[in-house]
Amino acid sequence: MESGIKQQRRNIIEAAYRARQGHLSSSMSVLEILNVLYKRVINFNINDPDSILNDKVILSKGHAALAQYAILYDLGCITEEQFFSYSKFDAILGEHPDRNKVPGICVSTGSLGHGLPNAVGIAAGFLAQNMKNKVYVIIGDGEANEGTIWESAAAAKQLKLNNLICIADDNDSASHTIGLGNKFSAFGWDVIDIPDGHDTKSIEEALKTEHDNPLFLWAHTKKGYGFRLMEEDPEGWHHHVINDDEYRKLLEDLL
């Protein structure tokens, strides 16, 4: 899995360099979480990525779309041409994911605080139709400032959504949202703390934990993980145009 993740990091840099834009540091913090989900946890038919029978992965922090595109490309759901056309006029991949264009994307995110409520509805819809699918939704710690995150936390417990797993990619973006785990716990969720959100083993273990309530995984990650330039200036790389010198240095980091 590690070499696959490294290749995805290379692909993300390449696509963003060519497009002259991209939310880079946020994409890097969530990559291990996405890889464990798609490769070790969820039921996902790569030949029918939009099947209603698949487990669903919703990137509520939609600005990290490049990370989800990278794994969908790795899995073969997105072609090479589609991936490297990122952000072009007639591309299927924009800076935020569009459910009507991208295979395997079921919620169009971008405006923060929408993915989790939609995920609650999807989980409720599955239960109402006696479907066994699970719904995995990834929020950011900055996004957790949105009121809809906490409205959803209350609603998910009320609706007894034991098929819903929310993972926080807590990469220290928020200026004032602290103690996410305690907060979700107070809303009645089962909570697991993942001190190293880049450690694939502990992510997998947490994701496979049995739970009666909706499950919250608090993954502590590093914005820009994998690249010294980004880790040293995570906010400067939140949305960034990569110049030639930076491009060279970023690729060196991957050697």
Binding site: G113, L116, P117, A124, G125, F126, E151
Partner: protein, 294 residues
Amino acid sequence: MNMREAFVTATNDIINKDPRVSLILGGISVASFSESIKKYPERVFDAGIMEQTGLGIAAGMAITGMIPVYHTIAPFLAERAYEQLKIDFGYQKLNGNFVSNGASLDYSSFGATHQCPAEISILKQIPGLQIVIPGTANEFDRLYRDNYDNGRPTYYRISRDVNDSDQDVKIGTANVIRKGNLATIIAVGSMLKPVLMATEGLDVTVLYYTTVAPFDNETLFNNCINNRIMICEPYYEGGILYDVIQALNDRSVSIRHFGLPHEFCRHYGTTVENMSFWNRTAGDLRSELEIFIK
């Protein structure tokens, strides 16, 4: 039966007959659905006072193939949760039924917090959203039952004000109520009642619109004889002005408005008292029309 009762009856019916229907309440009308809530707790529930998340949940249910109905008071549905209507349903191209209560001034004594004369203008900015403004309980019943499963996002505006009689309404199609020569009067929803009172004996055309999005351009184009148009709307005036201009395709027309003025309602009392204060009675309309067609 008033329009809200028609909504309750029709919704309980479709919940019972169609397992794909999900009703999500925003903290109102809960008692009216208590049996359905007990019978189908997994798809009929009160999400409570969280309109944005309530609509977000409804969108998620639509993604799984269900048909969500979301219901609460108009400003909290259309204005507070506007971005959910825009993105979760409009941009994502999802089906859903949004049934608001209160219209412009039904909550006249509550203050402007509960009043919603502006929502039609803003909802019309969401591409693909259907907007239905029935004029009677029976019209609501027909439009809602015929269209709850039409695969599109649709906003229904329930109002306490109603017309005296039902028209043969169909979504997306305007009704020609009367044909005349001196002007074309457009009555939206419950404005048909004052329009019929005000136009008695006048040689004018009366068109009745219960759907304002999509707008029936053809009926207006074919029934605009002398280029005088009076638009009568039960919300802030100007809501369908763009459509009227588009429908007439560059024709030179004279347009008058008769709807709520762009002001906060600063009084309490009844709807009738407030409409009188603003000179928006059937008598006022008659006076304006007589000058207009002279």
